[in-house]
């Protein structure tokens, strides 16, 4: 058998054998056997020295061709086997994608905090500052400077926790009105502020009363502030907190620190204004008190009521949260049941 015939035989036999190999190990063994230094092709090339000078180039070319053919076949087969092995692995690795995801620790802001943050963001956008004041107040700021002198009957409207005759747990965030007006430099422009915080009343806790709750006081003082501005501002609050379809209406009311004073009602959440048991068939729900700052309050804080005026409002985030989410017991906000706190996690 000529050298060429030998090579052809090796080629044909092995091309077939490679095709039949089914694992990478035997493939590698065969590669070493075929293409290694002791392999038949190397052997055949060594035997080339016995050939005539004319035959050599053609045979060399042929031998290289055979080697390339085998090598390429080996590589193809290796790729096929690798792919097959990977496919087998992937099948084995199949999982039940419906098993639950691993829980991730995640905390929530308190629902009342969410309402306060929402209000803060709205008012910051409107150019208001956020001011906070002491929870333990002087009678002077909480009452007297709010136009509620010592014997004023309206003091009975707010049962108060006193610490001494002059020091008390603030019953409202309104004292921040006086504190802000006292320190504000009106030559630098208008005073626009809201003051969120905790307030206290001497009440027995029950589903609708809590001795501790929250208020957000608002105050705007400038040279040209109107009742219409108050109405527009409160409308914005209703739209921001509850949605555009909610409307606001004002009704006369009484607060010692505002004149005129109004109560603001908002479209009933439950019936959308048609009338239901929740809104006592009026279509409206009372949500906050407001008014034009009383000239006495301005005067006591050292602001000239002939030049300056403005509006104030007081909102109850607890009440907002109760209305918005249908919470039926105010005590839920202060008992911190995990099953309650985690209900208000939707950010959308």
């Amino acid at each position: 058998m000529s050298l060429r015939d030998q090579l052809e035989e090796i080629r044909d036999n092995h091309l077939k054998a490679i095709e039949e190999l089914s694992d990478l190990k035997s493939l590698e063994d065969l590669r070493v056997k075929l293409l290694g230094k002791k392999g038949p092709i190397t052997q055949a090339l060594r035997g080339m020295k016995d050939l005539s000078a004319e035959e050599r180039p053609a045979f060399g070319q042929f031998a290289n061709q055979v080697r390339d053919q085998l090598q390429s076949k080996l590589e193809n087969r290796r790729d096929q086997l690798k792919q097959a092995a990977l496919n087998r692995q992937l099948v084995q690795e199949k999982i039940d994608v419906t098993l639950p995801g691993t829980p991730v620790a995640q905390g929530q802001p308190h629902v009342i905090q969410q309402i306060i943050d929402q209000l803060e963001d709205l008012f910051i956008g409107l150019g208001y500052q956020i001011l906070t004041g002491p929870e333990v107040e002087e009678d002077r700021y909480n009452f007297e400077m709010m136009n509620l002198p010592k014997d004023h009957p309206a003091r009975d409207m707010q049962d108060t926790f006193y610490i001494t005759n002059e020091i008390l747990m603030r019953t409202q965030t309104s004292p921040m009105q006086a504190r802000a007006m006292e320190t504000h430099d009106f030559s630098q422009g208008p005073l626009k502020m809201i003051s969120p915080g905790v307030v206290y009343r001497r009440d027995t806790d029950d589903p609708t009363h809590s001795h501790q709750f929250h208020q957000v006081e608002g105050l705007v003082i400038d040279k040209h502030i109107t009742m219409a501005d108050l109405k527009g501002t409160l409308q914005l609050v209703a739209h921001e907190l509850f949605g555009d379809r909610f409307d606001v209406r004002l009704r006369p009311s009484y607060f010692p620190f505002t004149e005129p004073s109004v109560e603001a009602d908002i479209t009933c959440f439950n019936c959308g204004g048609k009338g239901c048991a929740v809104c006592k068939y009026t279509g409206w729900i009372e949500v906050l008190g407001a008014g034009m700052v009383h000239p006495n309050v301005l005067k006591m804080a050292g602001v000239d009521p002939e030049v300056y005026g403005g509006f104030a409002f007081g909102m109850g985030p607890d009440r907002f949260a109760m209305l918005k989410y249908g919470v039926d017991d105010i005590r839920n906000f202060y008992l911190n049941d995990e099953r309650f706190l985690t209900q208000f996690s939707k950010k959308g």
């Binding site: 610490i163 626009k192 001795h211 501790q212 006369p252």
Partner: protein, 803 residues
């Protein structure tokens, strides 16, 4: 106060329903609680006439009545009332009717005798028991003889009226009367008002011949009396009784009812004394003297003090002024001479007396909110006239005046420009003039300035702002436009402190803790637990309950209450944080200083058990410490954070607690709640921390700054050692760093072991040391040299056995 719709209609034309009227009142004046008809829920209750009656054969008190109910045949009804009488017109509940308390009446047999319904007493058709006149309290009610047989009874009893229950704000005391409400309703509806005024016939004898009245101007700025002789006490006519009982007042007799009726109508509380029971001829309004006593009409004996105003005769008090009369001068069936008091008392004194004696009578409520000082005489006249008409009394000539006050109408001016400036409206002069006219105020206009004369009946109006409110509410708040404040722009932004507080909350939430808001007022004991510094406590002077009596000086105790609440409800995994105020006080300080803190409490697992981690390790000290570390890192306080073991907090585990220092400033602590404290709170093992957020906020902060990332690889070497178990990680790390060399980047603990294979009193610690030169690749030799120095140092300093 319940205002009668029918009564209002006596003074003006009202073309809208009571419900619509209530809406107008609510939108323009004061809140309305309810609109009700006394006949609501009642049906088939008609006028019947008892034609004959025979005793029930099987009963000693029942009567079998034949009753004309306007049908062809008489109806047989069994009745057990003691006052049942032939010929009387009575209230008959027909079979199928519905009476009070939602009771249905059926045809039935009473002890074998058929009864076609029921003859009713007033309380059986919905009258409150305390409103039913005494004479009808124990029997059926007799309607007037002209009542039409077979017709519904409601019209004859005033039960078809609509009662508008107004919730009057403290400033609108004027609306606590029918006249006061009528003025406002006429203004709101823009209709003319026709009120009647007394037209009194007096006898020639002067009242002042028989009666002397004295009063102290300070306690009774107006004190007036009228004297009516020869009254004949009798029940009031039905029209008057209806007005009283629809207002919730029990009719008594013509004299007492007259005073109550005038109160309802004018809002002026009156009192009627039986003048014959008075000792001497002088009635005086004065402060009570210590030790004086008075038995009031409710038959309570009351000890008076010098803060109570009394009406007194020669023998002592005969009434608690402005609050309640005395039993010793009460009008009785035998009364013939009546002294009518019409007065104004000091509001604050009355309010305090009503509070002290817990006697919040209608009279007291009126005086507390003020009365029309211009109407005191008219009320006395109207009452005297009624007593003349109803009780045939002879009104003695003249009013006896002890004190009086000139009541001038208040004049307030406001410009059109001011009105539009404050309300944001574009009202015209005629519109505003019309509003003041509708309110019944006098108004003259000059150069767009309104000079408004406010009648005394509107004592709440003194200043320009009060007029603005009148214009706004009568014009209508719905008509006012909605705008936003104009004027110079103001920057709105959170302050640095506010931003950091918000960030603090976000960091805690990202770490898995839910925000809690607990009570700031707690028990005296809990207020003083987990103290970060010494402080006096701040107590409420008059707490509602001992559970909320003292201001907290820590946040943790509130969080532990929350954990307890959860644990008690079988919620075992609790992870909470709170950001809020604590209240510290120096001994001489009255008002405590308030400090913002942030605290956390974790009990159970941070991540719930799940199919991948069925057991789930409860949170331990180190997990919570990790959260504090991340918090402090995120807050970027500049300086080293150091944890120092401490046993100084009695509420914390003495071996599992650390004080936390930032740059050597104490800022809080972390630890496990002491098992005894946990048992007292009834909570599972719980780990807590509390930090002075305010101090952290004020500390200097690191700023974010780019550092190029080294191109040269880092090299790491592990070292494991046996050390004495008293040697802390902090000491080991400090020792390594001390001799670590210039290229030691990081020291990380990766294993702690004590127990088997480790000698008693020792533990094994293992660290990875990472070296890096930002300038070039480190050679093995350089690293080995540095590492050997560390080994040497550890052996020498800590007696470590390198393994």
């Amino acid at each position: 106060m319940k205002i009668s719709y029918n009564w209002l209609k006596e003074y003006m034309t009202i073309n809208i329903s009571a419900k619509d009227l209530a809406e107008k009142i609510e939108r323009g004046a004061v809140e309305v609680d309810t609109v009700t008809k006394p006949s609501d829920g009642l049906k088939k209750i008609v006028v019947g006439k008892i034609i004959s009656m025979t005793p029930h054969p099987d009963s000693d008190h029942l009567q079998v009545c034949q009753v004309d109910i306007g049908e062809e045949e008489l109806s047989q009804i069994v009745c057990g009332a003691p006052n049942v009488e032939v010929g009387k017109k009575v209230i008959v509940a027909l079979p199928g009717s519905r009476i009070g308390d939602n009771v249905k009446i059926k045809r039935s047999k009473m002890r074998g005798v058929l009864s076609n319904g029921m003859i009713c007493a007033l309380d059986e058709i919905g009258f409150p028991k305390d409103v039913v006149p005494k004479e009808w309290a124990d029997g059926i009610y007799f309607l007037e003889d002209d009542a039409e047989i077979g017709e519904p009874v409601f019209g004859y009893l005033g039960m078809d009226d609509d009662l508008i229950d107004v919730d009057v704000t403290p400033n609108r005391g004027d609306m606590l009367s029918v006249y006061g409400t009528a003025y406002d309703v006429a203004a709101l509806l823009d209709v003319p008002l026709t009120l009647t005024h007394p037209n009194l016939q007096e006898v020639a004898t002067l009242a002042s011949d028989a009666l002397i009245a004295k009063a102290d101007q300070a306690v009774a700025p107006i004190y007036k009396m009228r004297l009516v002789k020869n009254v004949k006490i009798a029940p009031s006519p039905t029209w008057l009784q209806i007005k009283l009982w629809n207002a919730g007042i029990r009719p008594i007799n013509n004299v007492v009812d007259a005073t109550n009726y005038i109160l309802l109508k004018y809002g002026q509380p009156l009192h009627a004394f039986d003048f014959d029971k008075i000792s001497g001829n002088t009635i005086e309004a004065r402060m009570a003297q210590p030790g004086e006593q008075l038995t009031t009409l409710d038959e309570e004996a009351r000890d008076l003090d010098q803060n109570d105003i009394v009406i007194a005769d020669a023998n002592g008090p005969i009434a608690l002024a402005g609050v309640m009369g005395g039993l010793n001068s009460e009008i009785s069936d035998a009364t013939t001479t009546v002294a009518i008091e019409s007065a104004v008392f000091d509001a604050t004194t009355i309010r305090k007396t009503a509070q002290r004696h817990n006697l919040h009578t209608s009279a007291a409520q009126h005086f507390e909110r003020g009365v029309n000082r211009g109407g005191v005489e008219e009320a006395a006249d109207a009452a005297a006239q009624l007593m003349a008409e109803l009780a045939s009394g002879e009104v003695q000539q003249g009013i006896v005046t002890a004190t009086d006050q000139a009541v001038e109408p208040v004049k307030v001016s406001v410009t059109l420009a001011r009105i539009n400036h404050v309300l944001g409206t574009t009202l015209s002069t005629p519109t505003v003039t019309d509003i003041f006219n509708r309110l019944g105020f006098g108004v003259t206009v000059e150069n767009d300035t309104f000079m408004v004369t406010v009648p005394a009946r509107r004592w709440d109006i003194h200043i320009e702002a009060d007029l603005l409110e009148e214009v706004a509410r009568i014009y209508g708040y719905d008509e006012i436009p909605a705008t936003l404040p104009g004027g110079p722009a103001t920057p709105g932004a959170l302050t640095e402190k506010q931003k950091l507080i918000r960030s603090s909350r976000s960091i805690m939430e990202a770490a898995g803790l839910n925000q809690a808001i607990s009570y700031s007022l707690t028990t005296e004991g809990k207020a003083g637990q987990f103290m970060m510094k010494e402080s006096h406590k701040t107590d409420l002077s008059w707490p509602m309950t001992l559970d909320h009596a003292t201001l907290r000086m820590n946040l943790i105790s509130g969080l532990l209450d929350d954990v307890a609440y959860n644990n008690a409800r079988r919620v075992q995994d609790v992870a909470l944080y709170e950001q809020g105020r604590v209240f510290y006080r120096e001994e001489e300080q009255v008002r405590p200083s308030e400090e913002d803190h942030i605290a956390g409490a974790i009990s159970g697992r941070l991540v719930p058990t799940n199919w991948q981690d069925a057991k789930g390790q409860p949170v331990d000290f180190y997990e919570l410490k990790g959260i504090v570390d991340v918090f402090l890192k995120n807050l970027a306080v500049a300086g080293d954070v150091r944890y120092e073991a401490t046993d100084r907090y009695p509420e914390l585990h003495p071996g599992r607690t650390a004080d936390i220092f930032v740059h050597d400033h104490y800022i809080g602590f972390i630890g496990q709640v002491h098992p005894s404290t946990a048992a007292a709170y009834k909570i599972n093992p719980t780990y807590v921390f509390e930090l002075n957020l305010e101090a952290l906020i004020e500390m200097p902060k690191d700023v974010n700054q780019y550092v190029p990332i080294s191109k040269f690889p880092a090299v790491s070497r592990d070292i494991a050692m046996l050390v004495d178990d008293q040697v802390t990680n902090e000491e080991v790390v400090a020792t390594i760093k001390k001799r670590g060399g210039a290229y030691l980047k990081n020291v990380a603990l990766f294993d702690v072991y004590e127990g088997a294979h480790v000698p008693e009193g020792k533990r094994s610690l293992a660290y990875t040391l990472t070296y890096q030169n930002p300038e070039t690749t480190l050679t093995d030799d350089e690293v080995n040299q540095a590492f050997e120095k560390v080994e040497k140092q550890l052996k020498e300093q800590l007696n470590a056995e390198i393994r």
